[in-house]
């Protein structure tokens, strides 16, 4: 029997995250987090960007995440996913140890190799144009964190990063370390890094068949690296909205159009849809029955943990219907 499929909620921390949203609102973020926990969701997620959404308006990731340590009690949470070079990897490891510690061991560390050149250059942060090198740097950042989380004093002499007798105490609560997720799609290097280092893999929404194909690539990497494929949690980020009325369908279409106009440049968050039919193919949008069918399709394709943006927040209708009417049936 398959283990229970998990569902996490991505918090609306940027303008344009949902069909009704304006500038990010702290009260909304907090109440969604609390409600998600009350409804039994498995995880909460915050993207790590500096400029995103309408007017480039977005809350900073780690600041927001840290508030979840006290605003919630049981639900796990994490960045989805960290842009590797926003913070020094050693400082990041320290931040993670602390956040895991003060939350009672609930952090999931999501790393990414970074893709958003525009914000890196704008903020004067290091930007490495070669995707291969970025992945190498991400791998090193993860290995550095693992060393810092485990010893009394950490020394690490990498190609890109090093620490010398660095003390990182208190240690994270989770042993041997907080789960590490890696987000991305690159088949040659990124998915290989997943096989090498990750406890979980995350990717923006794609067709079920494509998701299955990516899994087989991960499996090949696992085989060649001697890694147990089953020990990696398979997740996918997507958008969900229960719509029953014509007017709601229109809202969604208008959001897609605005979203596309907002991101007038390559952006993985840009929906590949300009009609409702296309939206339904790309995301999980429709009646309760339609959404349930789509979710089952993805579970069959191999998704074990959905990380979703409910598109109708701050309305908690999709959040509630999903947890009360769909998830129990799966």
């Amino acid at each position: 029997m398959n283990p229970r499929t998990k569902f996490g909620v991505c918090l609306p921390v940027f303008d344009g995250a949902t069909v009704t949203s304006g500038a990010p609102d702290a009260n909304t973020v907090r109440s969604v987090a609390v409600e998600a926990e009350n409804l039994g969701y498995d995880s909460l997620w915050v993207p790590d960007h500096l400029m995103l959404g309408r007017g480039d308006s977005i809350f900073e990731c780690w600041t927001t995440l840290s508030t979840l340590a006290t605003a919630t009690n049981r639900i796990r949470f994490g960045p989805l996913v960290l842009s590797y070079s926003h913070r020094s990897p050693s400082v990041l490891a320290k931040m993670a140890a602390t956040l895991d510690y003060i939350s009672g061991g609930r952090l999931i560390m999501g790393y990414g190799a970074g893709w958003y050149e525009r914000e890196q250059l704008a903020y004067g942060l290091p930007w490495e144009p070669s995707p291969y090198k970025r992945i190498e740097m991400m791998r090193e950042a993860i290995k550095l964190a693992l060393v810092m989380w485990q010893g009394e004093q950490a020394s690490f002499n990498g190609k890109y990063y090093s620490v010398a007798k660095a003390v990182c105490k208190p240690k994270p609560v989770q042993q041997p370390h907080p789960p590490i997720w890696i987000g991305g799609t690159g088949e040659k290097y990124l998915l290989r890094a997943v096989a090498e280092l990750a406890d979980g893999w995350n990717v923006p929404a794609m067709a079920p068949s494509e998701y299955t194909r990516k899994l087989s690539v991960i499996k090949d990497h696992c085989n060649s690296l001697g890694r147990d494929y089953n020990s990696i949690e398979k997740s996918m980020e997507t958008r969900v909205m229960i719509i029953e009325k014509e007017s709601e369908a229109e809202q969604v279409i208008r959001w897609f159009e605005a979203f596309k106009a907002m991101f007038g440049r390559p952006d993985p968050l840009k929906p590949n849809a300009s009609t409702l039919e296309e939206a339904k193919v790309t995301y999980i949008i429709g009646t309760v029955g339609e959404c349930e069918d789509r979710i089952r399709e993805y579970i069959k394709a191999g998704v074990q943990h959905f990380t979703i943006y409910p598109l109708d927040l701050p309305s908690t209708r999709t959040l509630t219907v999903l947890s009360r009417e769909i998830i129990p049936k799966l």
Binding site: D56, T64, R87, T98, A122, A164
Partner: protein, 339 residues
């Protein structure tokens, strides 16, 4: 005589001979820190501050993570880290973090910066972060960091091309809630022997304070040393043509409340093991002078002395923590004298 009192919540284990901040506490306890925070807000403390360090050689929680977490259990207290080392984070990122925290906390952030004092060299270097022994270089980096931050906080597209940092069309939105922006605090060492950076960093930093600070904070020091420090600040302000009255003065210090001399001497004993070779004070008299140590009346009088010099904000560490007796007594008997 009005004054504000901020509670310095310990997020480090006391067993650390670098700093006798919490001599009676030897373990980290975030739950206790959270409860103390909630209590202090109830008791009327005006603000909450905490350390910002990576290791200080021992057990310590990361400052900004805890600040953000504790912002969520408070509603009215102002929030800040004590001497945010600007070297740990890219200043544009720091601008973004602080703008978000100001929004989330509904406009309560104090952004408290420093340029990295000599005591922070070990943790900075061990973490693989850049460090210059030259205080002038570190001060210059801090000045650039402030410029980057202020520009980004405007919410407008920002471009800054400095020697150490740069931005290019950067946008920081949502911008902070506070108008015109969160107050910028800059810290210097007290002038007491242990806190005097032998490299002359304080001399350099007092100039940065004069130029840029909305609030100046000094580490524990006697009234006399504070007077001298303030005089230096006044001189610097005259040199650059800034009214020293524009700068709010804050003192971060230790509070030891005792019923009588015997009890105070007992409290002094708890601090002794953190004061090897008289690093922070040489005897009972200096202990009393450098910190706010004594009966309630003596503490009130001492604060009045600092207040008369012009210090209107106090960040207080309690020597008996994790006991909350000091916290409560201070709130009951001292704070009301300054409302």
């Amino acid at each position: 005589m009005k004054a504000d009192f901020g509670f310095a919540v310990p997020i480090l284990a006391g067993g650390n001979d670098n700093l006798p901040r919490i001599p009676c506490s030897t373990t980290i306890d975030f739950g206790a820190a959270k409860e103390a925070t909630i209590l202090c807000e109830k008791l009327g403390y005006d603000a909450l501050y905490m350390a910002d360090h990576l290791s200080m050689g021992g057990e310590i929680l990361e400052g900004w993570t805890v600040l953000s977490a504790l912002s969520a259990v408070t509603k009215s207290m102002r929030l800040g880290t004590i001497h945010t080392a600007s070297l740990f984070r890219n200043p544009a990122l720091l601008a973004k973090m602080s703008a978000t925290l100001d929004c989330i906390s509904n406009g309560r952030l104090d952004l408290f910066l420093e340029a990295g004092h000599l005591g922070g060299k070990e943790e900075t270097v061990s973490y693989g972060l850049p460090w210059s022994d030259d205080a002038n270089v570190r001060a210059a980096m801090l000045e650039e960091a402030i410029a980057v931050i202020l520009q980004l906080w405007s919410g407008d597209e920002s471009t800054f091309r400095g020697k150490y940092y740069s931005t290019e069309g950067a946008v920081c939105r949502p911008r902070p809630v506070q108008d015109p922006h969160p107050p910028i605090w800059i810290g210097t060492g007290g002038g007491e022997p242990a806190f005097t950076d032998k490299t002359g960093a304080d001399e350099v930093m007092i100039k940065v304070v004069a130029k840029h600070a909305d609030v100046w904070n000094n580490t524990p020091a006697s009234v006399e040393h504070c007077r001298l420090k303030l005089k230096r600040l006044e001189e610097e302000c005259i040199t650059i043509g800034r009214d020293v009255g524009e700068i709010t003065k804050s003192l971060e210090t230790q509070v030891f409340i005792a019923k009588n001399e015997d009890e105070l001497r007992r409290q002094l004993e708890t601090v002794r093991r953190f004061n090897p070779a008289g690093k922070f004070f040489r005897d009972y008299e200096e202990f009393k002078q450098f910190y706010i140590a004594g009966t309630t009346e003596e503490c009130i009088k001492r604060i009045q002395d600092y207040r008369r010099l012009g210090f209107t904000k106090f960040i207080v560490w309690f020597g008996d923590y994790p006991s909350l007796d000091g916290v409560r007594q201070f709130a009951a008997d001292v704070i009301p004298q300054f409302r």
